[in-house]
Amino acid sequence: MRARILVVDDDPALAEMLTIVLRGEGFDSAIVRDGSRALDAFREVRPDLVLLDLMLPGLSGLDVCKQIRAESGVPIIMLTAKTDTVDVVLGLESGADDYVMKPFKPKELTARVRARLRRGDVGTVERLRVADVEVDVPGHQVLRGGAPISLTPLEFDLLVALARKPRQVFTREMLLEQVWGYRHAADTRLVNVHVQRLRSKIEKDPEHPEVVVTVRGVGYRAGAA
C-alpha cells in the first residue's frame, strides 16, 4: 500500500513540486494550503505522515502541529526556512518529530520521510520492561500497572531503542542514527526535546526520571527494570 502524505504548505509551486517528487518516490500526497483547514484535511485524508510548513496563512504551523498531535501520533516533519534555533526547538516542542531545512534536496526529504515511515522491525513477540513500565513491542503499547500510556510512534521507538539494550548508554548521536535514521551528525536537539516529551508522559516525576535516565556528559540509558 502506498503511504499517504499530507503536505501543508501555502506556496503552490513548492506544494506541487513536493507532490511530484513524492509521487516519483511512490507516495500518495494531498495538499492543503491554509493552516486553518489543515486539521479538517488531516481528519479527512488520514495520512501516514504530515509535511508541515511552519509559515502558514490562517493558523501558524506550530499551532497546526499541536492540533494534530493532540489527536494523533502520526509522524510530522516540519519544513522550515528559519535557521533560528528558537523556531526549531519550538517546532519540536509542539510535537514535530523531525525537521528539514529549506532549501533541501529531494533525496534529503525522501530520506527523512522514509525514516519516519519505517516502522521498527515487529517480528518477534517481545515484551520489555523498563523500571515499572511494560513495553509491548508488537502491540505498540506501553503499560504501567496495566494502564496504557499513549506515545507517538517516535517516542515509542525511542523507548524501545533504549529498552532493548538496558545496559547500554546511548549517546545522542547513536539515538539520532537508530531512531531518526540520520547517518551523519545531525541536530542533537532533536534527541533532547523528544526525551523531554517522552519523560513528561512516562515518568512519574519528570524532574527525577526513572525510565529514561540521563548519563551526564554521555547520553541516556533505560532505567533498571
Binding site: 513548492l14 513540486m17 519544513l79 528559519k82 529549506k102 532549501p103 533541501f104 534536496k105 529531494p106 551528525a185
Partner: protein, 687 residues
Amino acid sequence: MTLSTPQQPARNAAAGSGSADGDAAAASSAGASVAGESPVADAVGGESVGGAAVVGAAAVGAAAPAAAEDRNDRGGGRREQRHTRDIWWRRLTHSSRSLRLRVVVMTLVLSSVVMVLLGVVLQRQIRDGLLANKQSAAIAEIENAMATARVQLVGAETNPTKLRSQLARLVQDIGNPARVSDTGAQGSTAGVFDPVVAPLRPGASVASAVGPIDDVPPPLRAEVEGGNETWQYTTVMRKNAAGVLAPVPALVVGGPVVIPRSGDAFGVYLIFLLTTEQKTLAVVQQTLLVGAAALALALGLIAFLVATAVLRPIRRASAVAARVAAGDLSERMPVRGAAELTSMASSFNGMAEAIRAQIRQLEEFGALQRRFTSDVSHELRTPLTTVRMAADTLHAGRDEFPPHLARATELMVDELDRFEDLLTDLLEISRYDAGMAELQAESVDVRTSVMDCVAAAGPVAATTGVRIITHLPDAEVRAEVDVRRVERILRNLLNNAVDHAEGGSIDVELAADEDALAIAVTDYGVGLKPGEAGLVFNRFWRADPSRQRRTGGTGLGLAIALEDARLHGGWLQAWGNPGRGARFRLTLPRVPGFMLSASPLPLRPPDDEAGDRDGVGGGGVGSVVGGGDPAANIVAGRGAYDAMRAGGPFVVGPGLGASVGAPAGPDAGARTGPDTGPHTGPEGGHG
C-alpha cells in the same frame, strides 16, 4: 568590519622578517637540533615586532595581543605585581581627582600662604612700632643724661680714683633722674636702662669707665668717640628669671659729653633691655599663629561645606547619568535650584531624550533588519527549494535528455549549490550585522572538532594533492565554545588553505594553556603579499581574482569566521609571506567572557625559513613526518610545545586517508609511518 592594522606596519614587518629569515636559514644549516631552536626565537621576535595583521576582538587593541604575549612569556608574577600597583595608583589618582578634596586642599594651602604673609607683615609692623617708640624715648633719655653729665662733670677730677667715684655718682644720678630733673624717670617711657659713663680722654682705658661698658658694642663707642650721638641694637648677656645667663636684645644709645672749658670728654651710654618688647612680640606672634591656624581650618571647613553643597547636584546628576547609562533611559534630572544647575539639568534631560529617541530608532532599525533577514530568508528559500527540487528531478532523469540538455541540467544543479552556499553565508553575515548572533556555548573537547573538520576537508584536499597534517595535544582540550561556529571557522580556514596550498601540505596545530586555546592552520602555498594579511577578512576579497577556487568558496567564509571568533571573544589573525605560505591563527578563551591576553601558539610559524618546504613536495608520508620536515620541527623544537606534543601527527592526504599515529613523542611519530599506524579513512567516523 574594520581592519585594525593598516597596510604600512604589515609591510614593515614583512621586510623585517626577510632579514630574520636569513638568520634562521643560516642557523638551520648548522644542524637539525639548532634549527629546532632558532626559529623559535625568530618567531617570538617577529611577533613582538607585530609581524602580522591583527584583527582581533574589538576590545583589544591591535598591537596588544602580541605585546601582551611577549610580556606573558617573561612570567606572570611580575604582571600580577604590576596589576596590584596599577590598582593602587588608580585609587590614589582617583581620590586626588576628587573635586571636593581638591577644593579643600587648595583652600587650605592658599589661605595658609595668605596667613603667613599677613602674619609676617603684621609682626613686622608691630615690632617696628614698638622699637620706634623705644628709640624716641631712648633718645630723649640720652639727652637728659648728657645734660646731667655736662653739669656734673664740670671740673672733673684728674685722679682716676676720684674720677671714678665722681662718675659713679653721675651714673647713679642718671639712673635715678627724678632726683636731678623732672624731665623723665627711670622706668617711664623708655623703660629700664643701665647707664654707662666712660672718659674719652686720650689714654683713658676702658677699665676707667663706670657701668657695664662691655655691653656697649665697639662700633658705637667708636662713633661716640668721634663726637656723634648714636644708637645701636645689640645683644647683651643677662641673668634671666632662672638665674642663667642668656642673651637679651638691647638698644644702646650713646652720646659724647664735652666739658667746654677743660675740653674733657666723656661718653654717656644707656643700655635699654628689650625684654618687655620681646615678650610683647612673642604674645603677638603666638596670637597671630593661633589665629591664622584657626582661620585656615575654618576656611578649609567652609570650603568643604561649600564644595559639598555645590557638588551635591553634580553627584545627583552623575547618579542619574549612571542610571541612564545602565539602560534606564526614562531617568531624568529634576530641574530646580540654582540657575546654572537648572540649565545643566535641562541640557542633560535634553541629551537623555535625544539618546532615547536615537536608541529607539536604532532598535526599530534593528528589528526591521531582523525581520528583513528573516523574511528574505523565508521568501528566498521557498522558491529556491522548488527550483532545487525541480533541478534535482531533472538531474535524476538527465540520461533521457539529449547531451546538451543533460549538460545544462548538470550546470544548473552545480550552480544551485553555489547559490545556496552564497545565500547561507549572506544570511549568516546579515545575522551578524543585525546583532542577532548568539553564542551557544557547550563544553567540548576541541580535538574532536578539529579531527572532524580535517576529516571532512580530506576528500577535497585529496583531489588537489594536498596533505593535511594535524598536531594535537595528548590531553583533551576542553573548552566552552559554540561547536557549530568553531567548526565553521575551521572549515573556512581549511578550505582557504586547501585553495591556496598549491598542492603542498597544510599543518593544523592545536594548543592550549590555562585560559586559552589556539588553532593554527598553516599552508605553504602562494602566501600573502604585504598588507594582504589584513584584507583577507574583508567580504568578497580575493588575493587574485583570476584564481580558481576548488572548494567553491563564497568569498564570505573568512569574514564569517572572523565574526564567529569575535562572538567568542577570540582572535582570528592572519600571517603570510609571498610564495612561502600563510598562517591563520584562531585563539579562543576556554571560558566565554575571559579577556584574552596571549595565545598559546605563535602567529608566525616557528619554522618560518626558506628552502625546507620545497623538499616536501612528493613522496610518501615518511617524508612528511620525518625529521627533516619542518612540521616535525614545530613540535620537536619548541620547549613550550613539550606539554602539548602531538602524539604522532594526524595526516590526511591523497591516497592516505587519515592516519592517527601512536600517542608518542614526535620523534616516535616520525618513525611511525602510516603503514604501521592505525588507519582511519576520512569518511570513516573516527574519534
